[in-house]
Symmetry: C2
Subunit: 169 residues, 2 copies
DNA sequence: CGAATTTATTTTAAGCTTGAAATAACTGCC
DNA sequence: GGCAGTTATTTCAAGCTTAAAATAAATTCG
């Protein structure tokens, strides 16, 4: 249709011809699909092989890297989940004997959580298998693919972080 | 300790010196971090701007692309969530007037779900904003970065799919 | 046709997750 | 010291999510 005769102000144009951001949207959906696909499979295997949930595994993974334990707040930040979520997760892992918890010596509000010996041993056994699963799921990527993807994801993470903090300030 | 005198069979060696798959693991963790970061922000904005949850938005997005509606099974496959999950999600969106549901004309087991006019209008308004948010979150990526990332994620998806279906057969 | 299998959906129990409100303890500052 | 503001954690209500079992309808095939 010939629109040469129809003047539109900037606002109307913005509504009728919004900027094209379809590509970013497709990229985001693909990123989400990849993650969901892999996460679902890892969840399934953890349950089948070890009868453990992914959140429990993730929490133990954080603690395995911190021999002296971590506070709930540290865990919350690292795992990017809410504080309230952690309270329940830690309660259940305490009940099953995987975790120890003590009051911080420097801050009476803070709980320092750490793996029990049994918890650590169980986690290490799971982690060894888990690492193999991940390698298997990414098997078609060449070392160069992996390097490139790593770099692009780092850039994406930086971009998102900037957009998020920039939003608040 | 001097272990020159201690012969190890292949299996023992495999336990003590597993193949290095750390790089794949780091890649997976970065992928997960990116997704979690962006997903959290999108969730937050959907709640603040529209008082809607991400699962509701995702479900409506699927239906917006299907003018004639979809069955719960179709939705379940597309969204990669369980059937039981969908039952509740659809119930709540029905209750809020966003969805219609009818029995399939060709299969009396199947429910065909579609957006109401109000639901579609509300979704479109949200989707327009949403698309801008995503563009903003990915803003630091050049068109080439986007193209490369798109390709690498497609390859990753293919790799994971192969590992998953290959597993079952 | 009819039995066996598959497919679509719902239900249930358990656990996960969030955001908001409440409590308690710490920190900075006057 | 003590008030104001921040931080660590818990609690709560609501909703999300899954896996497994149950129900019902369709399909396959002998």
């Amino acid at each position: 249709m010939d629109d040469r005769m129809i003047p539109l102000d900037a606002e109307t144009k913005a509504v009728e011809m919004p900027e094209h951001h379809r590509d970013e949207l497709r990229l985001w959906l693909r990123l989400l699909t990849c993650t969901t696909l892999i996460e679902g499979e890892v969840r399934r295997r953890l349950r089948e092989s070890f009868d453990v949930t992914l959140p429990r595994f993730d929490l133990m993974a954080q603690l395995d890297k911190a021999p002296d334990g971590m506070t709930l707040s540290d865990l919350s930040r690292r795992m990017m989940v809410s504080n309230g979520n952690l309270t329940g997760l830690v309660d259940r892992l305490m009940a099953s004997g995987h975790l120890d918890r003590r009051v911080s010596s420097t801050d009476r509000r803070a709980q320092v959580v750490s793996l029990t010996e049994a918890g650590r041993a169980e986690f290490r056994a799971m982690a060894a298998e888990h690492e193999g699963w991940i390698a298997e799921l990414f098997a078609d990527l060449t070392p160069k693919d992996q390097k490139d993807l790593m770099r692009l994801l780092a850039k994406t993470k930086g971009s998102a972080r900037r957009a998020i903090v920039g939003d608040a300030s």
